[in-house]
Symmetry: C2
């Protein structure tokens, strides 16, 4: 029976929206009532919501989202961080909004300790702790760069270069180390440092050579196919990693010289089904940066966490951060760990949700619930709910089970405030103590406070002081 048939032949049902009293009254008279899960926004933000609408958000948002979707990301090369980004020997980039050493969470400190030892600034964790307060910390997001979890980028680290094929824009992302005891989750043992040195000495030059010889790898195409193959682009990247390996392998087969390092590189990537995550993130970075700075737009251009604070940026308010305490992630824990071991939410990886992937694309990725918890239908519901707060459906990232509907893309901060629906993010969970590494994975909602602040800040530009409450 089609939906239209049901409309003609079905029993009538009352749909109620808003205060429950109305629905209760109708139900008391014996009618079937469906209560929509919606409440009017709190009165205190009404002026701001009015102001951003009056300010022409619709046209501004159309412009901003069009700029985001016009990007076409491709992996074009590998470089050393200090060669492509402005940084001194003690400049370390990190995930999320700006933070000082003293405010850093355990995993952020752990990652910075690992990076100091990798750079040779410190020989022991104790030495690193003493040097920590002298580091110049800066968000990767301020330097065209993103990194998952702690997101630490130090000057000697190799970075992947993701270019927008439609403009001169580039973004940089670290190379993914794998799961478990790794720098980005705050571990700093010898195996962590050794792996980082191998990545610098073998992984980076081999990949750089393959990319030089074989040309760019189209990431928009890989992500688009990966969503047809059960990836969400955030915590499930098995398909994207497989498709990336298919693109890299010909260059690894016919390279010059000894095959040993090329075989090692293949096996390293093959052993880590999250390898493509950092590329999806850098692809997201060129997209969101292209959409930044459109006057009046309520398009969210950044969601990122430093392990202490959750930060949001919005197109119409440019580089300003709107922050709130980082929330706690609900999820599945690795053997021996519990919620007590978990650090609050951390990482730049929520950029995937910012561009219509991750939690927003979970309907494409029912198998992810084995990693982050929940049910297959719950994964579908996450995606469905995100259509409430987004501006459009992604023209390339599509969900087969929804008959190839595009993923909900382009978070509208004013809709978040208006509906009370906050963005869903799926994410890894770092141990709260430095040195521990990964303890689990799960889902979390972005804090509402970031979005109300952003909308108020934009509204304040539109409304003169006297008209504000």
């Amino acid at each position: 029976m089609t939906t239209l048939d049901q409309l003609l032949t079905g029993e009538p049902v009352v749909a109620a929206v808003g205060v429950a009293m109305l629905a209760d009254a109708v139900a008391a008279q014996g009618a079937r009532v469906a209560q929509a899960d919606w409440r009017p926004p709190p009165d205190e933000y009404a002026w701001a919501l009015d102001a951003v609408t009056v300010g022409g958000a619709t046209a501004a948002n159309e412009k901003a989202i069009a700029q985001m979707l016009a990007t076409h990301p491709a992996l074009t090369g590998i470089a050393t961080a200090r060669d492509v980004m402005e940084m001194g020997e003690r400049t370390f980039f990190h995930a999320g909004p700006p933070i000082e050493w003293n405010d850093c969470s355990g995993p952020m400190r752990g990652a910075l300790i690992a990076a100091m030892m990798y750079e040779g600034l410190a020989a022991t964790p104790e030495e690193a702790l003493a040097i920590g307060p002298t580091l110049e910390l800066s968000p990767g997001h301020h330097h065209d760069a993103v990194g998952p979890m702690a997101g630490v980028i130090s000057p000697s680290m190799p970075v992947q270069i993701v270019s927008d094929l439609e403009s001169e824009r580039v973004a940089y992302g670290t190379l993914n180390e794998g799961l478990g005891k790794v720098l980005r989750y705050g571990a700093y043992g010898p195996e962590v440092i050794d792996r980082l040195r191998w990545m610098e000495a073998v992984l980076a030059p081999v990949l750089a050579e393959v990319l030089r010889r074989r040309g760019p790898i189209d990431l928009r195409s890989i992500i688009s196919h990966a969503l047809q193959m059960g990836d969400d682009g955030h915590n499930r990247n098995r398909a994207a990693t497989s498709l990336l390996l298919r693109r890299l392998a010909p260059g690894l087969i016919d390279g010059d010289g000894s095959a040993g390092p090329r075989a090692e590189v293949f096996q390293f990537i093959d052993a880590n089904n999250h390898f493509a995550l950092n590329l999806v993130m850098a692809a997201g970075k060129v997209a969101v940066d292209a959409a930044s700075g459109v006057a009046g737009s309520t398009l969210v251009t950044t969601m990122a966490r430093n392990g202490t604070e959750f930060g949001v940026r919005m197109s119409g308010t440019g580089d300003a951060w709107f922050t709130a305490p980082a929330p706690v992630v609900k999820g599945l824990y690795l053997g021996g760990f519990t919620a007590d071991d978990a650090n609050p939410d951390i990482g730049d990886s929520a950029i995937t949700e910012t561009v219509g992937l991750g939690g927003f694309a979970m309907a494409a990725s029912p198998a992810i619930v084995g990693f982050v918890g929940g049910s297959a239908m719950g994964a579908v519901r996450h995606t469905m709910e995100m259509y409430e707060i987004t501006m459009t459906e992604h023209p390339f990232y599509k969900v087969p089970i929804l008959d190839f509907r595009g993923t909900p893309t382009g978070i509208d901060a004013s809709r978040v405030v208006r509906t009370g629906v906050t963005p869903i993010i799926n994410t890894g969970i770092a141990g709260r103590e430095p040195g521990v590494g990964m303890v689990g994975a799960g889902t979390v909602h972005a804090p509402m406070e970031c979005f109300t602040q952003a909308v108020e800040a934009l509204a304040a530009k539109e409304v003169s002081g006297d008209d504000r409450p």
Copy 2:
């Protein structure tokens, strides 16, 4: 709300089964009625259904399905057909039940023409047509072998060896040529013959060398992961092909001698997302053969089509074929072709459905509807319906969107007859004229007649002649 809650709080609904008159009478009194789509089996088969049940089908079926599921298929090597299967220079194997040259459909003739030219028996299609009637045709299924579409295997062709890691059992499958103008769809142009020669001269020896050096590739593991990545194992094998390439690449990177042929082999497989199909089929062949010949069992062990007839074999009736005219496939056509160009159903590939994949696993593969037609929810419904006629849920092949429920596995011929539900198969469509090749892809139901014949044949063993109707 849980289902149990709904039971306690929902409005009562009458469920009606069988003749519509009952449901109509209840509905006339204003009650809500759900009519189950089930009819009692035709009276004429009641004696046979009774007889196979009396004959202890339950225990026999438990034994047969356990034997099927105990197999653990792996790709272990590459051989030349004549070296591993008993065949003379003019013995050509084919898909489906036995057939004579004069009864062959266009694509079967086309494929045999291609094979005669490839073998050097004929220089032109005209010469091949003259030789055709002198060929010794035999079903691949009689020789541990399977092939998609025409399924032709001639003596010089390389075959993949799939071994059961739990027994001495092996099965053979051709190497997949790609889509479009290829032998298995009945094309025989120079590009078809050239490709077959390259497969013999380059593809087969390179793969053989990699497998010798690197050891077997676990197909159960690959298929199991591929179902989490949107494959159905029949017409969508993009994930299985990707995972196979990930297993082959290390051996292609570090092989001896010139990298040229190894790079060619990678690129050939990489260009064909159906490459893994033939391996999934051979994996199915070791499974169904392990389940054959269990006295009293109504487990279907073969569904295969030669382009003229659809054939079924059942465990309790051993090697006997039960055939009916091959049905016409409903589907999507490639540019320029229509249903008028389509040959009836052809190929051994319905072995995937016989082991709980293909049409039975379509809920895992919503993206397949872009290839075979239909909707994502239709794909889910196909899988749900097949639980009605199968014995168990596959312990390794699971469907994420159904919260990892195992695929419906082990077709029970008696349930097919009892319920009127016939197995759903998704499949490619060959052009009806020899030489054309592929014209589309779609879905088709196995003919009921094959299953009623099988059940009657088994019943005849259990019931003496005098007690039969």
